[in-house]
């Protein structure tokens, strides 16, 4: 894959060397080529044609993401180690955790479904948090190593498959369903998961992938890129 790298787009016609133009974007939803406006922190830049969100400029993205990711990691561990639901009927009691649900499906002969639940409710959220944790630490001193880029790319995929909020609603419905048959006791994990849903949403909303990508070392080698600040300074001197 070393041979056919595409060329970065030149910043200006005057400068013959290819200089990475950080403000140039092609809308991912409609391919309209446009220049990102200087958006103040906290605001969003949208595509002029299809209104897709192009960039949400975040305040202090790295530190806040790191803090939220640490908290989320902690809550995820707790949520998976304490009971989520308890039940009692006719003097008998039972309780289950998130992993207990996976195991029950597995034992019931529905291994595919068990793996899907395991992935969407435990593995994907855990990896999603781990990715952001590692990225928000790694990109502090640019250029960050290439693996930070790999994690960033994994994060985008995992985000779609991490379904804690849907699982929590599912548990709630299950609870109501079972309430007809037996007495149900919500466990500690339910409240922890409820908090985790908000933390994960906040984490995703605070993270600024554009900013992180700008700090990652280039696959084609650093020679192709020039820091935008440097490029501007070089042009000024001329």
């Amino acid at each position: 894959m070393s041979a056919d790298f595409a060329r970065p787009v030149a910043r200006s016609g005057l400068n013959k060397r290819p200089v990475f133009d950080p403000a140039l974007v092609a809308c991912p939803d409609c391919d309209l080529l446009q220049r990102l406006p200087e958006v103040p922190a906290g605001s969003t830049a949208c595509c002029a044609r299809c209104q897709a969100r192009l960039w949400r400029h975040k305040t202090d993205s790295l530190n806040r993401t790191l803090a939220l990711a640490v908290a989320a990691a902690l809550l995820l561990v707790i949520a998976n180690s304490v009971p989520m639901l308890g039940l009692s009927v006719a003097g008998r009691a039972a309780s289950t955790t998130v992993l207990g649900g996976v195991l029950a499906m597995w034992d019931d002969g529905r291994q595919t479904v068990a793996m899907l639940v395991l992935f969407t409710a435990v593995i994907a959220p855990a990896l999603e948090i781990a990715c952001l944790l590692a990225v928000s630490l790694a990109v502090r001193r640019p250029p960050a190593p290439q693996w930070a880029g790999t994690l960033l790319r994994g994060y985008e995929v995992l985000r779609e498959w991490s379904m804690i909020e849907i699982m929590l609603l599912g548990v709630l419905v299950a609870l109501i369903k079972i309430a007809e048959l037996a007495t149900v006791i919500p466990g500690l994990a339910m409240f922890v998961l409820g908090t985790l849903v908000f933390l994960l949403a906040a984490m995703a909303a605070t993270f600024d992938p554009r900013d992180a990508w700008a700090r990652v070392a280039w696959a084609a080698g650093e020679s192709l890129r020039q820091a935008p600040g440097l490029a501007r300074a070089a042009e000024d001197k001329r």
């Binding site: 939803d29 409609c30 209104q51 897709a52 309780s95 595919t112 960033l152 299950a174 079972i178 084609a220």
Partner: protein, 217 residues
């Protein structure tokens, strides 16, 4: 840059789908690697329409057993009872829990079917080269992508009902075969949405505009 809106492709540029960097593809080539993240760069996702159609049809086929086969089998001293997804919704309907019944109905029946209809509509309009209601179609695509995950709800409901109600021999619940097909529908439709390249919606209107602007008034 000219004042006329132009797509990156018409200028020989491609935006990376992973990192967002815009780069110039080597002349005559339709694919290369992104210099920043190393991802394969292309103007449009390869075989987007064909693979999306294939997945939509696969999901439609899975949708039938997912709704006809039972998802839960309840064993009680009073007897054995099997529930399909729809029966589960009906049972959940009560003066106190009807809002949840509506949520489950929407997530398990409306969303998967709506998603398939929406994707088919997007695919057909792209194939016929429609130039109408592009903004609405772009919005529809984003909505389908955003809401689609929620149809996993019923898989989670069934999982935790089965996990908790295991009081053999008094009373227990087993998962029915419908769950597998239903999970299949959810996964396949999620992949189908990701196969569709929303940029296709805008490709033809753009060409049409070019022709209009170039032709003498």
């Amino acid at each position: 840059m000219s004042a006329v809106p132009a797509s990156a492709r018409s200028l020989g540029l491609a935006g990376c789908e992973v990192c967002g960097l815009v780069s110039r593809l080597p002349p005559g080539k339709s694919a290369a690697h992104c210099p920043r993240c190393g991802e394969r760069l292309h103007f449009r996702r390869r075989a987007s329409v064909e693979s999306c159609w294939a997945l939509v049809i696969a999901a439609l086929i899975l949708y039938i057993p997912a709704n006809l086969l039972p998802v839960l089998t309840t064993y009680t001293p009073l007897g054995v009872e099997t529930d399909t997804i729809l029966q589960g919704v009906v049972e959940l309907w009560s003066p106190s829990s009807w809002p949840l019944a509506i949520i489950v109905f929407v997530a398990s029946i409306t969303i998967p079917l709506g998603k398939l209809i929406a994707l088919a509509y997007l695919l057909i309009t792209v194939q016929r080269g429609s130039i109408q209601s592009t903004v609405q179609r772009a919005r529809l695509y984003r909505m389908v992508k955003f809401i689609g995950r929620w149809s996993m709800l019923d898989v989670f409901v069934d999982t935790f009902v089965v996990a908790l109600v295991q009081l053999k021999p008094l009373m227990w619940v087993a998962a029915g075969p419908g769950v597998i097909f239903f999970a299949g529908v959810v996964v396949v439709t999620m992949i189908a949405v990701n196969c569709f390249d929303p940029r296709l919606i805008w490709d033809l209107p753009e060409k049409e505009n070019d022709v209009r602007q170039r032709s003498p008034a």
